[in-house]
Assembly symmetry: C2
Homo-oligomer: 348 residues x 2
Amino acid sequence: MGIKEIVNSTKIYWLTSDGPERDVVVSSRVRIARNLADIPFPGVMSDADAESIFHAVKLAVAKRNDIEFTWLRELSDAEREILMEKHLISPDLLENHEKKAVMLSEDETISIMLNEEDHLRIQSLLPGLQLERAWNLVNELDDLLEETLGYAFCEQLGYLTSCPTNVGTGLRASAMLHLPALNIINQINSIMSTVSKLRLAVRGLYGEGSEAKGNLYQVSNQITLGHTEEEILKNLNSVIKQIIDKERKARKALYEEQRYYLEDRVFRAYGTLKYARLLTSNESMNLISDVKLGANLKIIDVDPNVLNELMIITRPSYLTKYAGKKLDSHKRDILRAELVRSKLKNLN
Amino acid sequence: MGIKEIVNSTKIYWLTSDGPERDVVVSSRVRIARNLADIPFPGVMSDADAESIFHAVKLAVAKRNDIEFTWLRELSDAEREILMEKHLISPDLLENHEKKAVMLSEDETISIMLNEEDHLRIQSLLPGLQLERAWNLVNELDDLLEETLGYAFCEQLGYLTSCPTNVGTGLRASAMLHLPALNIINQINSIMSTVSKLRLAVRGLYGEGSEAKGNLYQVSNQITLGHTEEEILKNLNSVIKQIIDKERKARKALYEEQRYYLEDRVFRAYGTLKYARLLTSNESMNLISDVKLGANLKIIDVDPNVLNELMIITRPSYLTKYAGKKLDSHKRDILRAELVRSKLKNLN
């Protein structure tokens, strides 16, 4: 699948495919930061420096014919935003995109961002809890690149990066968790504060500084230095397994102890999605979250893939793309409600 | 239709039949208070006094074979409450009902309450704005009764009543108005305060002291003395016509200026009624009110009779009757939502 098709499709590999622990874990992401030794960091690089990065990386990746190179300036603003909302590129790649590019594997599992904060950001994004597999995909590609690229590396510190928080392994691993029940029973804050004390970071859907919408939380490692990649992943994985366990127990308890309250909440959310004429982005995320929880507990029979697709088509960038022009927020709310209704119309 | 059938039916003549100005005026009610000259008022009467009232009134009404006499103690608590919620008897008749009785016409348009606050309360309740016709029905029956009963009457004051606020004509006329648009645009309070200054009373659905639920307001005369019945009715009618006009203008303006907001509100209400698993009495009244407004503006296609029936079957007394036993409020909320869903299931 070429990048244009990826942009045009409302199917998203990591969101609409199956994976382990999929009832709680939406996706797993691993990315590493790498820089070439002899070229200044992107923040201070010249146009010629950027060109040499493109050239060197293209050559190094050439053995992998499933990875396509794309200049970001070849894409429209709307298309870039869609890639961002699909989490295939970072928000950073939207800014000053003239010196930046992305390489995307055909199956959408691997992306290499060029000249983001670092020369290379190699990312793998998979459905469900698959941190180890994501790491292996990234690691293999890293090994391939290292054969020909001269990475900036220091025996004492490890890989050197533009921002000191990435120095060492250059590794950031995260999982996106859907935690509606912990939110309903008001345990989410205490759990997340415990998670923070374990030197893990908790964030909303779109990374740093973004709010947790639709009960989606990203948990990631903060430490990149002084531990091996395997240790970092093992620690993160074990904390996530504990959160999964807590969320499942909360769902079960809610269902057993407050069944009518829960059924009411789930079906009201469904009724509102099915009938509303105005839907804000936040409200629709929260309603979809409630219906997802219901589908999960078999309270309501809605195809999870339809719900996942709703999460995408209700995003502002998709609405802009669908309308073919920028819409004000009122018009977006109308169109969002219209699209949601039409998706749900043909169900049961 | 006998009183037992009236109790058992969810059809209510004044609520489910058509009438003038039915888009705003749900019903019109006229009642007069009368007392027999030689018997103490109900508050201080003996059992024998009560018996003589029953006897005298029965005899006087005998020429009308469409009016059935019922001892309130023959009915169960639940049945009496249903008559009250159908507005065929007053809340007062539920208390100390041993000395009280009711006579109900077959078509449900006329009821005579015996030994409520006064010996006789003759009431007519009709769909839409029909104060004059209601008055005529009451007046004719009053004339018939006056042929044989010796009413307590004073040349100077008029008819004497247990409470001084009824002395004179003994007349209380009211209309129940559905005013959702005036409520949405926040004009309801200023209009109702103007109405009060015109010496009319504004009340909720169940008379004095009751809250306005589901945007239903009762407007009635306060003055019974110093004006003829015709003057009282003419004044009330003219104020009601002005309120109708304001409500219709508000609906039109809302539809023209805030169409999406209004459609959203109406369809969300419908979606919630259709899917909720828990519904309180207040919430269901308000949701039904929103859908009624929508049906009225042709935003949504729902049979008004179904909505009117919903207003009845969601009342606590109906739920108790349906369940065959007293339910706690949580169980009532479950049953209410269940009944509403089953009524709306077969629509479109």
